[in-house]
């Protein structure tokens, strides 16, 4: 869709929207349409130039551009012809219903009914069935989600039982929950860890249990945004030579760059790299820096020694 088409579609919703809310601020209206205030001003200038055929002052849509630029307030009048928005097209209905499917994956079970009924109402607005879309996100079980949503709603501190990924052990951190977030197909709890005295992300599928401690959460501000995986991995770059069978790692892990069969990964945690090398076996080998592989080599030798000591035939 071109920008101009987006803009026409948006104006056909924006004009009735601001008419129904006299004196709404630029900030509120821009947020409602997920656009910048600058874009909103550009839209208002277009509306200001439009109206009924004739082009006489009484025919044009009236927009108080001084109020918009000066006070940040929108006053729009003489647009009764556009007092209702354009119908939703099947695509839009399908896209919103897809979004609701994603929301459902992270929501507490108590919200399912509202999500499903919102989706069903949207379906009635379209003259076509939504195309099939299946969303699968790695998320926690429903009991865990419900407990976390309860703790979040009531501002309660909790003790998690948490299986750590890279080390594979189980910890029991006490945390102040801040939000549930889905990114890159995984659901996380963002929480303030009391032991670490900092923000931590916990994968929902690794949270085994949630218990309230009986205390209220303290104020810690807002957790940092972790939109960009690459930016989060601050560790060194490690280059591996990867066989065709292991090329899939490019799609799963933060890759800095690739060159033929050489793949350079951003490594945040040395334990994670050790595990990756062990998993891939002869499908991948670290080429630079060579010492990045030492951990994995030592671990493999130690494991083989354990096997040798305990040759139990089955």
């Amino acid at each position: 869709m071109s920008t101009s088409a987006d803009q026409v579609a948006r104006l056909l919703a924006l004009i009735p929207y601001v008419q129904a809310r006299p004196g709404i601020t630029l900030t509120e209206a821009a947020a409602a349409f997920s656009i910048s205030e600058r874009q909103l001003m550009a839209d208002l200038w277009i509306a200001f130039m439009c109206g009924l055929p004739g082009g006489l002052p009484g025919d044009l849509i009236e927009v108080d551009m001084d109020a918009a630029e000066g006070e940040g307030v929108i006053r729009l009048a003489n647009a009764e012809i556009l007092s209702r928005p354009l119908r939703l097209v099947p695509h839009e209905v399908a896209t919103l219903r897809l979004a609701l499917q994603v929301v459902r994956e992270v929501a507490a079970p108590e919200s399912y009914a509202a999500i499903d009924s919102a989706s069903a109402k949207l379906a009635t607005m379209s003259w076509e069935d939504a195309p099939p879309a299946v969303v699968s996100i790695v998320t926690g079980d429903e009991g865990v989600r419900q407990s976390l949503v309860d703790a979040l709603s009531n501002g309660r501190r909790v003790r998690l039982t948490y299986d750590r990924g890279a080390r594979g052990d189980t910890t029991e951190p006490v945390v102040d929950p801040a939000s549930l977030v889905v990114r890159e197909g995984y659901a996380y709890l963002e929480a303030w860890s009391l032991e670490r005295d900092g923000w931590r992300s916990y994968r929902l599928d690794r949270i085994v249990a949630v218990r309230e401690t009986g205390e209220a959460t303290a104020m810690h501000g807002v957790p940092p945004k972790r939109g960009d995986w690459l930016a989060d991995s601050t560790g060194p770059d490690v280059t591996l030579r990867v066989s065709a069978n292991a090329r899939w790692i490019i799609e799963y892990y933060p890759v800095a760059h690739t060159d033929g069969d050489l793949v350079t990964l951003r490594v945040g945690d040395p334990a994670w790299l050790r595990q990756l090398v062990l998993r891939l076996g002869d499908e991948a080998e670290v080429v630079a820096p060579v010492e990045a592989q030492d951990d994995a080599v030592r671990a493999a030798r130690e494991a083989l020694a354990q096997y040798a000591a305990w040759t139990l035939d089955s």
Partner: protein, 320 residues
């Protein structure tokens, strides 16, 4: 950005909405700002394009004649009843759900479409609920994800190069799957006369959506759901006996049940169900000496093969 084009098209919509009767091209040409001063062919071309653009947005521009008895030039109008969103009402908790949905595509290719759709609902009086403490975000910032999603909705065939340039595929999209943040399209591969699954990140270059729309029928939704479940790990059918040290490998321990089989000091025996030998061998190898595979032999061999490959490499201090 083309403010003149946007202005002209918006004026055209207003003009046709205000019309009580079908308007001829000449009337439109003289009334709508932006059509004046053009040559005949230039006006005809521009009007046709504008009409197409607006219809693509779902604007019902009707063609007809004011007088059924005279075969005069067709005119155009928009009936408010066809154009306007009928009254809608969402409960407060439904509005919270929509408020969360509003941010699912933030920064991704489908964001403008979602924002406009929600803008329409808000213009009809819906107040989006505050997202509060849940944020759901579904990648798909790939331009191809938008093209495929649109093509699926329109039932248009798509053409693209898969894995490498020059291997063109012609596919009728049946459904979209989004798994762990990765987008897939499942559909009928016309070159191979069989359904196939394609991962969007493996498409080389851009996906082209072909004319016409409504080119094929969609199969039952269950067909797509079955394909989606084929992407999930296979169910566990076998059981392996593992020795797990201390509190390590929590994921494997939780899947398994403790047994009394003889194991080294500091280890505990677990029977762990598994579906794929390779997957279990990867998990066991990754845990190194924390997890020893005792049986079956082929899982242990697959694990040992990985460990031996890595153990055979020189440490950095052993290199000449």
């Amino acid at each position: 950005m083309a403010p003149r084009k946007t202005e002209r098209q918006l004026n055209l919509v207003i003009c046709l909405l205000a019309a009580r009767r079908f308007l001829s091209r000449e009337t439109i040409r003289s009334s709508v700002e932006g059509y004046q001063g053009l040559s005949d062919p230039a006006f005809q071309r521009m009007f046709e394009r504008d009409k197409d653009d607006l219809r693509d947005l779902g604007i019902p521009i009707e063609t007809g004649s004011n007088d059924a008895f005279f075969d005069d030039e067709p005119g155009y109008r928009i009936l408010a009843g066809d154009f306007e969103l009928p009254p809608v009402e969402f409960s407060q908790s439904e509005q919270v759900a929509l408020g969360l949905a509003a941010h699912v595509f933030d920064g991704a290719g489908l964001a403008p479409q979602a924002s406009t759709a929600l803008g329409k609902l808000q213009a009809a009086g819906v107040e989006l609920g505050s997202p509060g403490f849940v944020q759901a975000h579904l990648g798909g910032d790939d331009e191809n994800a938008v093209v495929v999603w649109q093509a699926l909705g329109d039932r248009r065939r798509i053409r693209f190069d898969y894995r490498q340039a020059g291997q063109a595929r012609l596919v009728e999209p049946w459904g979209v799957l989004v798994r762990r943040g990765a987008w897939y399209v499942y559909g009928n591969d016309l070159g191979r006369s069989a359904p196939r699954m394609f991962r969007l990140s493996r498409i080389a270059g851009v996906v082209e959506a072909l004319e016409p729309a409504a080119a094929y029928e969609l199969p039952e939704r269950s067909v797509v759901e079955a394909a989606a479940s084929s992407l999930e790990p296979t169910g566990a059918t076998e059981t392996a006996l593992l020795a797990i040290r201390g509190s390590a490998a929590a994921g494997l321990r939780r899947r398994g049940t403790q047994t009394s089989a003889g194991v080294p000091e500091g280890y505990t025996a677990y029977e762990v169900p598994y579906g794929s030998v390779g997957e279990l061998a990867e998990q066991a190898a990754a845990a190194a000496s924390d997890v020893l595979v005792l049986s079956p032999a082929h899982v242990r061999d697959a694990t040992l093969a990985r460990l031996r490959a890595v153990a055979a490499r020189p440490l950095s201090t052993e290199r000449a």
